[in-house]
Symmetry: D2
Subunit: 114 residues, 4 copies
């Protein structure tokens, strides 16, 4: 990488919502792989919440991306040859806002309007 760019740091905080899909397993259920990934997330110490369509993780960019990469690695280690993940990633510099605060903010607006 050229010198102008090499010094740019990745964000200190982000959230990632990801949904990992094992491909080519012959098994329609993905629950066992999702459970493996949940154990990894617990071990990571990063704040995370599973929902029915993915898992949201909060932390520094590098920590969060590392754990998602490890999730791919763990599923491969279990014999899955191809892993596909869809992610949403958000960063902001105006304020720190946790996942809970985001939901609460919307609920407040809805309550006010009722």
């Amino acid at each position: 990488m050229s010198s102008d760019y090499a010094s740019i740091l990745t964000p200190a905080a982000c959230y990632v919502d990801f949904c990992l899909v094992p491909v080519g397993t012959g098994n329609v259920s993905v629950a066992s792989e999702v459970a493996q990934v949940q154990k990894l997330l617990r071990a990571s110490g990063l704040k995370h919440t599973m929902h029915s369509a993915g898992t949201t993780v909060e932390g520094s960019w590098d920590d969060v991306m590392r754990v998602v990469g490890q999730a791919h690695a763990i599923v491969h280690q279990g014999g899955v040859q191809r892993v596909q993940t869809s992610m949403r990633v958000g960063t902001r510099t105006d304020k720190t806002q946790t996942a809970e605060q985001k939901v609460k903010r919307v609920e407040e607006i809805l309550a006010r309007d009722e």
Copy 2:
């Protein structure tokens, strides 16, 4: 559309997890647009759950896609010129499984392993 394909029906059931982002508003917060969309979803009668990184909706393909399209339309009506949505969509023919059942299945595996 050619006759071979015109008769193909869209799936009778699906889930969609979506995250809508208004673009070019000059407002860093998206909570007001998200609240508008939540009201639409309530009015739709479709089963839905908001989480910090999106909203999951369940129903027939046509009903779910229609309501997400209406969500874009409502946000445009509020003056937002550009709307960008990221979606995960899943369909399956082997069984009917609700959002709650998916999460429960993973939690059972985790509990068993502890």
Copy 3:
């Protein structure tokens, strides 16, 4: 759907970029399913471009979402029990801009800066 919302029309124009993944097939390659979907898209008459990480389709919201739903249906008809798609969807009201124009606009900025 309540009367306030039932009359809201879905957008007249959108683009969708989607990546469809067959789940539980026992086959690591997804090329055959992708090819099936490309044939469907050709038959649809909608403008579309395949790239290495998905396919971009342009048209009205209803037409585009219908063809993606048909893509799920076709892959299910081929014996795949579960299909997972990741989509990006964009709509705008300020102007009509094709996929080619979007890329060209960025290339102009890059050329100007060199």
Copy 4:
């Protein structure tokens, strides 16, 4: 991270297709931010291709995720307070396949069937 997991390496190769959206800029066009990111990608030395709905990057997990994080950082440095990215990420252990090879494989199937 607990010792069992700390040693797990992220994948040596992956592709990421990402679409970055600046939020709260008051500017409907995102072309200027996309151009900034393209310059960063050129400087990174990683193989990448821009299309109308995103950019595909190939490389090791850590290199690719680092450059996407730097893309967020660069857009923030330009004064954008919130950045939202949608990503598709794929890894496989059965073979090495470039972005070009993936498209070619599908085109071969389509040509054979015509």
